[in-house]
């Protein structure tokens, strides 16, 4: 007799990647007593990643869950999520274990991963190296799909994503697009964030994103590093000259003061000014404009861009959580486009994933539709601005398939546990 566990979002290779968002799952008895039932306990048995369970969709799951499984093999539903602040390091270090409540026998288990975006400064070396290997493979010395991402973010396309209310939604989708491209290479990878308002000396090293060169030339990597042969725009290497001490934060306002931009009403209209500072200030914490990341047209030439923007996105996600602004229908959660421009209204689809070209959109749409994920159907092939809002699906529906190590899943006051 054993217990089979099935979890929504299992990929074609039978793998499960969870975030903090509860997903539906079922447990069923195989080879159990006909006409009877067996009491089992589901528990989190992994060495690193933690799991929580509940019978309803809630934000207070527990580390174990008793279930009564019919001998007929009927499936019994439950909800499973990653335990907040216990993300995985590698696939399989989070485990659902089923145990016979009566005699303690092990009845089955399923190894999964709680895949979460983490602070790059404290990212363990194996995770760091897997991330770097995936980025290097995506770049393929200038001949890989990274070129797509480079072509999306240029001077010619800037109005699609800068200087207007769509800045945060567009970049959320952009980072997620890249992350899914990395996961197609190595499914265990999540984009780490560069927390620019704190010192990050372990990020700017030969082992990670490169040590600044004394001469102001390209950063130095250790020999054989996955990004050692980085190439974009037909140029090798990354120039990145820090304008802050290695043991100092970037030249930005900190997280708390970023949140104050929303004003006493916690309005998006104020919060979005973070596009200037800390976002723009983070970019220009490097010599402007010789470091490509400091200049809009060239910023994506430096892969640090995506770690910078993961932090920008994390700030938005955290603000949305703490100020209850994840609902796109809440007028304070967004703002009117100014100027009123396509791509910056809630119901607009976003370029380039919508494939729309020609004035007022850019002339081409590199990269094609938004990539699918086995983990979730969201945001779909042609995401709208509004579909980026609720990354953890606290309101219900489908999450975007990622999370941050310091932004929890919490049901908003208007939603009770057991809701959609």
């Amino acid at each position: 007799m054993n217990v089979q566990i099935d979890i929504t979002g299992t990929d074609s290779q039978g793998r499960v990647f969870l975030t903090w968002t509860p997903v539906q799952a079922t447990a069923q008895l195989v080879g159990g007593p006909a006409g009877g039932s067996v009491d089992v306990v589901l528990s989190s048995a992994g060495t690193v990643g933690g799991l929580v369970f509940d019978t309803v969709r809630s934000d207070h799951g527990a580390a174990s869950l008793p279930l009564s499984l019919p001998g007929s093999g009927a499936k019994v539903p439950f909800w499973i999520a990653g335990e907040f602040q216990k993300p995985s390091s590698t696939y399989g270090d989070a485990v659902v274990q089923a145990t016979d409540k009566g005699n303690g026998n092990h009845l089955g288990s399923k190894a999964v991963m709680v895949r979460i975006r983490k602070n790059a400064q404290t990212l363990p070396a194996p995770e760091r190296d897997r991330f770097l290997a995936a980025v290097g493979a995506l770049n393929a010395q200038g001949q890989g799909a990274y070129r797509d991402f480079r072509d999306m973010h240029t001077a010619a396309t800037t109005r699609e994503m800068h200087g207007n209310v769509g800045f945060l939604p567009w970049h959320r989708a952009y980072v997620l697009d890249l992350e899914r491209a990395l996961q197609a290479i190595d499914a265990s990878v999540a984009v780490p964030y560069w927390r620019f308002d704190q010192p990050a000396p372990d990020v700017f090293t030969r082992d990670f994103m490169g040590e600044p060169s004394v001469s102001g030339n390209i950063v130095v990597f250790r020999p054989g590093h996955a990004l050692e042969h980085w190439m974009t725009d037909g140029l090798p290497g990354i120039v990145r000259e820090l304008l802050f001490g290695l043991n100092a934060p970037g030249n930005v306002i900190d997280e708390a003061n970023t949140f104050k931009l929303g004003g006493t009403g916690n309005n998006f209209a104020g919060f979005r000014r973070m596009e200037g500072n800390p976002h723009g200030s983070a970019h220009t914490s490097f010599s402007f404009p010789t470091s490509p990341i400091s200049f809009v047209p060239s910023a994506v030439r430096d892969p640090l861009f995506f770690m910078l923007h993961a932090n920008v996105d994390r700030l938005w996600a955290k603000w949305q959580w703490v100020k209850h602004r994840a609902d796109s229908t809440d007028p304070a959660a967004f703002a009117q486009a100014n100027p009123d421009r396509i791509g910056h209204r809630l119901a607009d689809t976003m370029w380039p994933w919508n494939g729309v070209t020609g004035n007022p959109r850019p002339p081409t749409a590199p990269g094609g539709p938004f990539p699918d994920s086995d983990v979730t159907p969201a945001p779909g092939k042609t995401p709208k601005v509004e579909s980026t809002f609720d990354h953890l699906a606290v309101k219900g529906g489908n999450p975007l398939g990622y999370g941050y190590d310091d932004v929890p899943f919490e049901l908003p006051p208007t939603v009770v546990a057991g809701g959609p």
Partner: protein, 287 residues
């Protein structure tokens, strides 16, 4: 961690956080930069309103170089504001052109020249090239000039870069020159020569590896194989060339080269040279 408790603690942290005052950042160059960033971009007013003040500071010769430089950095951040910055762009570029002169303080001059080079201004490209030919007239160092000229691939300075490479003994300048040449097919002989020359500095050999792979992958594969198999060459360059092969899966000939693969496999398992071991394992995992 109970999410309600987490919220409670975090909200307390936010409430306790002190506002950032410009005055608290006085003193160090980094602080001045933060101050300028604050001045420019954090206020109740629309973002664009601070830009004229920043421009005035940059232009004002009575201000300290430090303050002017910090304002210039803040303007760099302001360029990320998109259309909010657009009305000031012409004035900004005009200001840069005023600063890109020999009598401007070098810190400001270099930055102004860099801005114009990033804008692909042909006049500044011409000035940089003249400076490379005639160092007396140079606005910035040779290495910096080459670095700035790479901001526009169409500046077309490969010939000049090769001249500079051969003329200078300064490794940083050579590196800047080689970076220009790294994707120039006509430079592949030079790239192959530097790559294969054990007396060359590591940085130059590594850059040559990247470049040669870019312009002639097959030629690179042959040289890389020889370097890797040469136990007398430096561990780091062997790891570098192996790393280039690892992330470039087009080397069909090497995939069927059992001698090569056996050597890679052995090194991946045994060597105490961790860079080489890591590169070897990465190549084997991509097979």
């Amino acid at each position: 961690m109970d999410v309600k408790e987490y919220r409670r603690r975090y909200e307390a942290e936010l409430a306790a956080a002190s506002p950032e005052h410009p005055a608290s950042f006085a003193g160090s160059p980094e602080a001045a930069t933060r101050h300028a960033a604050q001045l420019g971009l954090v206020s109740g007013s629309p973002p664009g309103e601070s830009i004229p003040a920043l421009l005035a500071t940059v232009r004002n010769p009575k201000e300290t170089v430090l303050a002017r430089d910090a304002a210039l950095q803040a303007l760099g951040a302001a360029t990320f504001l998109g259309e909010d910055f657009a009305p000031y762009r012409v004035e900004f570029l005009d200001t840069m052109r005023q600063l890109a002169k020999p009598d401007t303080a070098s810190q400001l001059r270099e930055k102004a020249v860099a801005v114009l080079a990033a804008e692909k201004d042909p006049d500044i490209q011409g000035m940089l090239q003249r400076g490379l030919r005639d160092p007396q007239s140079a606005l910035v160092s040779a290495g910096k000039a080459l670095q700035l000229l790479t901001l526009d691939y169409h500046a077309d300075v490969a010939g000049l870069a090769e001249e500079v490479f051969h003329k200078t003994d300064d490794v940083a300048t050579k590196e800047a020159a080689l970076r220009v040449l790294a994707t120039n097919a006509n430079s592949q002989d030079l790239l192959a020569k530097v790559l294969g020359d054990k007396s060359q500095p590591r940085a130059l050999r590594a850059l040559s590896a990247t470049g040669l792979h870019s312009v002639n992958p097959q030629r690179f594969a042959g040289i890389a194989r020889n370097i890797f198999m040469d136990g007398s060459d430096y561990e780091d360059i062997r790891a570098t060339t192996l790393g280039a092969l690892a992330s470039a899966p087009e080397y069909q000939a090497l995939r069927s080269d059992s001698t090569f693969l056996d050597q890679v496999r052995q090194l991946g398992a045994q060597t105490s040279l961790k860079n080489l071991r890591a590169a070897a394992n990465r190549l084997m995992s991509n097979q």
